[in-house]
Amino acid sequence: NLSSRLQETMRKLRGKGRLSEKDVDQALREIRLALLEADVNYKVVRDFIGQVKERATGHEVLSSLTPGQQVIRIVNDELTKLMGGTQAKLTLSSRPPSVLMMVGLQGAGKTTTAGKLARMLKGQGHRPLLVACDIYRPAAIKQLQVLGEQLEIPVFSMGEQNPVDIAKAALSHAQKFNNDVVLIDTAGRLHVDEELMEELVQIKAAVNPSEILLVVDAMTGQDAVNVAESFNTRLELGGIILTKLDGDARGGAALSVKAVTGKPIKYIGVSEKMDGLEPFYPDRMASRILG
């Protein structure tokens, strides 16, 4: 793993006497490799290493008896800082019902995560309403309805109508039936699909969400920055949810997405089941990414 590789690199360097800036560069090269293998975006890695270099060539490393350890500690520190604190809190409106929107690429885990969030909110004493705004994917509405039944949470659906109309009707329904949080599940879409991105903009304009959550698959590679940037530019995201972290993907997309949008990663998906949602801890993610 990186820690042992770095120790080895530093051990060889240490044998030469006092550590120089050039030696630290070598260690940073190992770090860079680890981050790229973890799927952190190329440019994000470059910027990050540049940022870390100053601290890594400072006194705390060059005079240390275990410079390898120091470099890792600094990198871990900086990574954790970069990914923000733990912000496992949804932005709700002071005047309910609040509207939350799940958006993201095809297959990222939006529908499953909508169910998980609804379950969490219900457990906190809220009265959530799930809304089926994916009118394209075969049996998408059915999928949400099955989850709603399992969770005993109501699902609002109007079949294959205009998603903007469905969202508006769901909001009125929530007001009428006293649901204080409305979770809108939207269809997966490509960030380069103009028409579908415009649909999201229209849904947002119609129901004024208190938070738009981008759902990102933890195994996403270099493309994560493009996706996050597009969705954020078009919609102004409130936060990000990283799914499928119960696998062995290193999850470098977490760093890429945070670096390019500045938006907090709030929760992580850790199973297919409805209780598989946890707060995002940046320090744990940092260690996972470094490997």
Binding site: L33, E37, A38, G107, A139, L144, M219, K244, G247, R250
Partner: protein, 278 residues
């Protein structure tokens, strides 16, 4: 990137950067660029455009190393099992395959082997209905091996030309789910009395290096015959298939380029390599 440039170290580094940004991974990117450096030296290449051409050749050679189209049908039924991680595009790819075979006048039977996920059986049911093909399905929560058993025997009894088996998405790290997959595969083999014609691993083109872990572990559970790379209509380059070819000898047979049943293409190494640099 190469127009009007001279061949120097910075150019090699930039080419490596392009490969890494396409998700080829550092190992495979370095492998390709090291090969390129050797050839540049041997062939005394001084024009950057020539260098790019050689890199294309290297990439195509790697991709075509173990490449093959879908197996030609021999015995009936022609059986395809589709596997992969959650949300990769298995069910949609099956719909596309069903359409393709229907266009060739084959009698297609689908099997709803995902008995776990909410709405999974219904999802395949909608496709079956749209494509006017038969579907073998049990109830949600049924044993996927039982569905597979019934599907093979139904295909034989009905004289189906093609049987395509859907499976539940699963992360390769879930040992019990991987043994379930191996069991389903064994059941199909046994009922068929021979090997399956295709066992396709569906990989999302947006996937990063984790695809290598997927390829390795799924291949340990079932004998993969190829990869179906989905969502190449997005901005992800899908360079991970170069790493899969380089490190695991896995070849891409099919490419998904959209959400409709016509959006399936045979893999073409040359156009894939060109698009990666485009």
């Amino acid at each position: 990137i190469t127009t009007g440039r001279k061949v120097d170290e910075s150019l090699f580094e930039e080419l490596e950067e392009v490969l890494i940004q396409a998700d080829c991974g550092v190992t495979t990117a370095m492998f390709l660029v090291d090969q390129l450096r050797d050839r540049a030296r041997e062939e005394k290449i001084t024009a950057a455009e020539e260098l790019r051409k050689v890199l294309m050749e290297e990439m195509v050679a790697l991709l075509e190393k173990n490449a093959a189209p879908l197996k030609t049908p021999e015995e009936s039924p022609y059986v395809i099992m589709v596997v992969g991680v959650n949300g990769a595009g298995k069910t949609t790819t099956i719909a596309k395959l069903a359409y393709r075979f229907k266009q060739e006048n084959a009698k297609v039977l689908l099997a709803a082997g995902d008995t776990f996920r909410a709405g999974a059986i219904e999802q395949l049911g909608v496709w079956a209905q749209r494509l006017n093909v038969d579907l073998i399905a049990h109830q949600e929560g049924a044993d996927p091996a039982a569905v597979a058993f019934d599907a093979v025997n139904a295909a034989k009894a009905r004289g189906s030309d093609v049987l395509i088996l859907d499976t539940a998405g699963r992360l390769q790290t879930k040992v019990n789910l991987m043994s379930e997959l191996a069991k389903v595969h064994r059941v199909v083999q046994r009922e068929l009395g021979r090997d399956l014609d295709e066992v396709l691993l569906v990989v999302d083109a947006t996937t990063g290096q984790n695809a290598l872990s997927q390829g390795k572990i799924f291949a340990e559970a079932v004998p993969l015959t190829g990869i179906a790379l989905t969502k190449l209509d997005g901005t992800a380059k899908g360079g991970i298939v170069l790493a899969l070819a380089n490190e695991l000898d896995l070849a891409v047979k099919l490419v998904g380029v959209g959400e409709q049943y016509e959006d399936l293409q045979d893999f073409d190494a040359r156009s894939f390599a060109a698009a990666l640099f485009g």
